[in-house]
Amino acid sequence: MYMANKRAEPTTMEISIRWEAQLRKGALEMAILAALWRDRLYGLEIIRFLESSSQLILAEGTIYPILSRLKTEGLLTSEWVEAEAGHPRKYYSLTKSGQVRVRQMAEVWIDFSRGLERLIAPVLQKGGTK
């Protein structure tokens, strides 16, 4: 008789969600640092910039603790600027080591994704079967 006392195996959807979380984990810091490559931005601007340029949609409460940690790690610097709107804004910029780090991350990411693209191209071919 089959006993259903074994630990339930994760479903394909659960595995997929976990994998996506790992993928995001790898991309999240790089995305935030890359958003600051051209110019200094404040928190809300970074959120909007990531949304418009990469469809990377962040929960708003997620970004501020990450910015704070990246600053502690010496990758970002910040300054308060009095805005025309009446309240000050905290602008973040890349430090020298932040620039080096994001460049290294971008190179690794490109190499990695090119390799994977070649690998998965047959999987995505229209009408292709195994």
Binding site: L58, E60, T62, Y64, P65, I66, H87, R89, K90
Partner: protein, 205 residues
């Protein structure tokens, strides 16, 4: 009189401030100022509701925990300060058995290392009471008051370098293991944070 939206925001910021009490005053106020600026800016968009803006930020307690844990783990995993390392472990210990075990092991390691160092310092002042003895029962290393009955001291003045060397190895091993453990915890924490993101990379959103 304060309107409901303003009151909601103030209450949220009070809860955030309470959640950040273990951080320095400067860090805490800077965080609160930044979140206040975020809320005010979002509220300027026509039709925006404070309740929705606050919901998008997540609960004040969760937001405070993300700041606290992120900074503490980041600092502790790169530090060699036993105090900071133990604080990092303590914050993790409050979440489960594995953290409690890690904290206990680290505390034990630091206590033994510190204890041995203290006995090495005390040896010149209390030579008869500090040492490594063997007797009919189990051996004793460290401080004995009064001296072990019928015991034989093994190392004499060699106790000092031996105790210092052993203490250094124990302290180094405890620090190394704690930092490794906190690095793993930090990665776990980052994964957890990534899971809290909205679905991403979905083309056409």
């Amino acid at each position: 009189m304060m309107d409901v939206a303003e009151l909601e925001m103030k209450q949220y910021l009070v809860r955030l401030r309470v959640g950040l009490t273990r951080m320095s005053l400067t860090e805490r106020e800077e965080i609160v100022q930044e979140i206040t600026a975020h809320i005010r800016e979002c509220a300027e968009i026509p039709g925006a509701e404070i309740a929705v803006i606050l919901a998008r930020l997540g609960s004040a307690e969760e937001l405070a925990a993300q700041y606290r844990d992120g900074l503490l783990l980041s600092r502790a995993s790169r530090s060699i300060s036993p105090l900071l390392l133990l604080r990092g472990l303590w914050s993790f210990a409050q979440r489960g058995l594995l953290g409690v075990v890690a904290f206990t092991v680290a505390l034990f390691g630091y206590s033994i290392g510190t204890g041995l160092t203290l006995t090495a310092i005390l040896k010149p002042f209390l030579p008869a009471r500090v040492g490594l003895w063997v007797g009919s029962g189990p051996f004793i290393a460290g401080f004995s008051a009064p001296p072990l009955e019928g015991g034989r001291e093994l190392l004499g003045w060699w106790y000092i370098p031996t105790a210092l060397a052993t203490a250094s190895v124990i302290l180094w091993l405890t620090t190394w293991a704690t930092r490794r453990f906190l690095s793993v915890v930090r990665e776990w924490w980052r994964t957890k944070l990534a899971q809290s993101m909205e679905p991403a990379f979905t083309a056409g959103r």
